[in-house]
Amino acid sequence: MNKQLHRDVWVGVVLLIFCVVVFAVAVQISGQAAYLPIALSILMALCALVITINGLRKTKEQQGQFQYALTVKGSKHAFMFMLFIFIYYLLFRYVSYWVATPVFIIFAQKHLRLKSWWVNLLITALYLIISYFLFVVILKLPIYKVGVLGRYFRIV
């Protein structure tokens, strides 16, 4: 028999620890400003307890057999993509938006199983042209400030 605890139990415990940490930081705030954060951390801790209790109740009701719509283990594609987005952010921040974005769009489309290179490059080019025109030419967004290569894409 697969007697597992409903994951809400673990969720509740983690959240409870989070509330304790928040409380510890909040009490160091001086003066009136501390009241709300302290009150919130206590209320949140109560909610976390309720979540845990509900989790235990569900464990009893369903006797260890659960069907979750989404799970952490099953989401490796999503987390992998999040990593790509993070790398894109780093490229954006340190190189430039106009270098990072084509790299990201081309790579991501391929990764997400877009078969045709022609469509891939066309979409990337179209996006770059339109967004450059909109953000830099019309709205004069100072995105040249971002990244070492940013200033080469500036229009004065």
Binding site: I130, F133, I138, K140, V156
Partner: protein
């Protein structure tokens, strides 16, 4: 597919229209460019960094200056807004970043000098970390009451009332960093009044509470209340300055009205980071002083209710520091 193309071209056309109108709007008449000091300066664009949001008083002053300055220098002058932490995001960036080529100028106001003495968040920078160019405007503070208020009609009756009743006034913050809070504290210390301060988020909140009757008096700058004064919505009891203001010549100074002196104002001006060459600093100060003589500039600034001022150099340092000294004396 065809429809998509049609839509894309329609949108692009509209954007082009917007771009054309924006291009037309910012016509900078480039006169013969004055001699360049170095290869980098003046560059193709001079940027004025405004630490406050677009549309506000400081921002507008910067935009009027940008137009006048670009006529003077013959290059494009643009304003960029870099907001946050009461101006400190911009100032920290300008002091620490690489802006030594002189193509980026920062705006500065009282918040900068007050930063060092802020008891909650003492800042690491003061006037020693920057090179001041010149001031642009001086905005003196006033004490305003509602015209319909029947509890007091002038400074004397106000002081009498405030000594015996608690009075509420709004300010952006409590404590030495805020001018209005300091004014309240000065009243309490000098006359024994019972003024307490309620912190609000901005000047329009202050005005709203005042008009609603939630606060009893309003400490504000002349530019904020000028139109209300002219329309009779508010009565001004005094100006916190050495002399009467040209905008309100019939309003007495606090010294005339009560015998005690307090000077409270807001100043806005320009600065370069320490890393900029001193030749560039004097060149730009010169250019700005000339730009401030421009007729359109003068007209625009006075329509905002701002008193023009062009203190520069060491005198400007003294001007900014004077408010620090004043406030430190009040708060003890």
């Amino acid at each position: 597919m065809k429809k998509l193309l049609a839509i894309v071209s329609a949108c692009t056309l509209t954007f082009l229209l917007a771009a054309c109108s924006s291009g037309g709007a910012q016509s900078t008449s480039a006169q013969s460019s004055p001699s360049k000091i170095s290869d980098d300066f003046p560059g193709e664009t001079i940027t004025l960094v405004c630490p406050f949001s677009a549309g506000g008083g400081t921002d507008l002053g910067a935009r009027y200056m940008a137009t006048a300055l670009s006529d003077q220098l013959g290059v494009n002058v643009v304003v960029e807004n870099e907001t946050g932490s009461g101006g400190w995001v911009a100032w920290t960036d300008l002091i620490n970043g690489d802006y030594s080529d002189g193509n980026t100028i920062g705006l500065i106001n009282q918040n900068f000098v007050m930063g060092e003495i802020d008891p909650e968040n003492p800042r690491d920078y003061n006037l020693d970390d920057v090179q001041l160019l010149c001031n642009q405007a001086l905005d003196y503070n006033v004490l305003a009451i509602r015209t319909s208020d029947d509890r007091f009609t002038d400074i004397e009756s106000f002081l009498e009332y405030a000594k015996n009743n608690s009075v509420l006034v709004s300010a952006q913050a409590t404590g030495i960093t805020d001018g209005d809070s300091t004014t309240a504290e000065w009243f309490n210390k000098t006359f024994g009044t019972q003024i307490s301060v309620i912190p609000v988020d901005g000047a329009s909140d202050s005005r709203g509470m005042f008009l609603a009757g939630d606060t009893d008096v309003l400490f504000a700058s002349i530019s904020d209340v000028l139109s209300s004064y002219q329309s009779g919505e508010m009565k001004i009891l005094c100006v916190f300055a050495d002399q009467r203001s040209d905008f309100m010549p019939d309003i007495p100074t606090i010294e005339e009205a009560s015998g005690q002196k307090l000077i409270a104002f807001a100043a806005r001006g320009y600065f370069y980071p320490k890393s900029v060459d001193s030749k560039i600093v004097s060149y730009m100060t010169d250019a700005m002083m000339k730009a401030m003589q421009d007729k359109t500039y003068i007209q625009n600034m006075s329509s905002l209710g701002l008193q023009l001022d062009n203190t520069s150099g060491d005198e400007y340092v003294d001007l900014l520091n004077s408010q620090v000294t004043t406030r430190e004396a009040i708060w003890g």
